[in-house]
């Protein structure tokens, strides 16, 4: 296994030299993506990215990092399946928000020539998992990609885009760095994820404190995902959804595991303190409302998998209107032998 000797640190301002002069006055972001539809002027700032980096660094340097990896391993293997489904090999690939490299361990060097592992947390890159593909580790924020246009044949991203502030821009940047006929395969948490936890905390906080504040971060809806990918310029979109249900002994164990995965809340509007009474009440409500027969409580993770292609002339396009040669009425006759069709 070949690894580069060290980590490449990309400063956020590195790309400034490449930004055309007329763009400098309009925005402060520094990658070379030209603004489409003014998305940067509506950029949201929901998540504290600095805190997320600290949380991921903390999670990656725990004594037993594999204990909390089960979800990311599972989703990583499903993304690797989707990569294998494409009958092509990819000389240069990028894993955005790779963590400890959960996707790379399932792929082989015939499919991927060289793999860039990009993450915001350097401890995760330092403790990465074994893989036979030559990798280069890069410290990169998903919202500010320092790569040139038309660089990568494949970009994968597993369970890290749900912490991105400006998702439309991030998807546009991914589209930008892909080569024509390149593909983006991503997985992110969807709307129903952890709804049991969200509801229990909401009910308990309302009953105990008279109001509630959000404790589970907002997730994208599946319909929005299609629009976002289309707006970013991707073709031939595929979005499918998967639900993974994990059983825990109780709510506290679930929260401990979420913290160990590096998925603690980092939104700016989070409440700094969760009262012990509220936690106790929420655990009781969770158990009563959602428990299984054997006493454990389930937590639902809804994962959206998306596949988008960058346009290339060789790709199939919808046919021109009016160019049909058969009508729908003849559909029923497709499997009939020839002499019956002519009747």
């Amino acid at each position: 296994m070949l690894r580069s000797a060290g980590l490449w640190h990309f400063c956020r301002r590195l790309g400034a030299a490449r930004v055309p002069a007329e763009n400098l006055g309009r925005r402060e972001v520094t990658s070379g993506v030209s603004p489409r539809g003014g998305s940067s002027s509506r950029a949201l700032n929901i998540f504290d990215r600095d805190l997320k980096r600290k949380q991921k660094n903390w999670a990656a340097q725990q004594p037993e990092p594999t204990k909390f990896d089960y979800l990311k391993e599972e989703v990583g293997s499903r993304i690797a399946d989707r990569v294998y489904d494409i009958p092509r090999d990819f000389p240069l690939a990028l894993d955005l928000g790779c963590g400890r490299g959960y996707i790379a361990q399932y792929l082989n060097k015939e499919t991927i020539g060289k793999f860039f592992q990009a993450d915001i947390a350097e401890n995760a890159l330092k403790n990465s998992l074994e893989t036979e593909i030559p990798t280069v580790s890069v410290l990169v924020d998903e919202e500010f990609l320092p790569f040139r246009e038309n660089t990568f044949d494949l970009v994968v991203s597993s369970l890290s885009l749900h912490w991105v502030n400006d998702l439309p821009r991030a998807l546009e940047q991914i589209h930008y760095i892909l080569k024509p006929d390149g593909v983006f395969i991503g997985a992110m948490f969807g709307g129903d994820t952890l709804y049991e936890l969200r509801c229990s905390l909401q009910l308990a906080e309302t009953e105990r404190e008279g109001g509630f504040s959000p404790h589970v971060s907002p997730f994208t809806a599946v319909s929005d995902l299609g629009h976002l990918l289309g707006r970013a310029g991707f073709n031939t979109l595929t979005v499918d959804t998967d639900e993974i249900q994990v059983n825990y002994p109780g709510m506290f164990e679930l929260m401990e595991d979420l913290q160990g995965m590096g998925e603690s809340n980092c939104s700016w509007n989070r409440k700094a303190l969760l009262h012990r009474n509220t936690m106790l009440a929420a655990a009781a409500v969770y158990r009563e409302m959602y428990r299984n027969e054997d006493g454990s409580v389930p937590a639902t993770y809804q994962i959206y998998y998306m596949i988008g292609w960058k346009y290339h002339e060789s790709q199939a396009r919808p046919a021109r209107r009016g160019s049909a040669t058969v009508s729908f009425g003849e559909l029923g006759k497709i499997n009939m032998p020839e002499e019956e069709k002519s009747q």
Partner: protein, 85 residues
């Protein structure tokens, strides 16, 4: 974070004992849970302290619960990995 690391350590160790103590108060927790769940039915309305009585019962049971031994039901969770340091 390192400046109040000692405080944080104490808080976390107290939190780790929560699940065992909660398990010892299954009946009170279930009563409280049922009360809150009943308010989510159509026509119900959840307001502050709607289930205060059930919660007080749960709290006193919780405070009295000893975090030491493990009950039979949770024997397979007796030494959860996350509780050992």
């Amino acid at each position: 974070m390192s400046a109040n690391g000692a405080v944080w350590g104490r808080v976390r160790s107290r939190l780790r004992a929560f699940p065992e103590r909660l398990a010892a108060c299954g009946a009170e927790a279930a009563a409280y849970g049922r009360c809150v769940q009943a308010s989510t039915a159509p026509g119900g309305r959840l307001s502050k302290d709607l289930c205060a009585r059930e919660f007080q019962a749960l709290r006193s049971c919780f405070a009295a619960a000893v975090g030491g031994g493990c009950s039979e039901l949770r024997s397979h969770h007796c030494t959860p990995a996350w509780a050992t340091e």
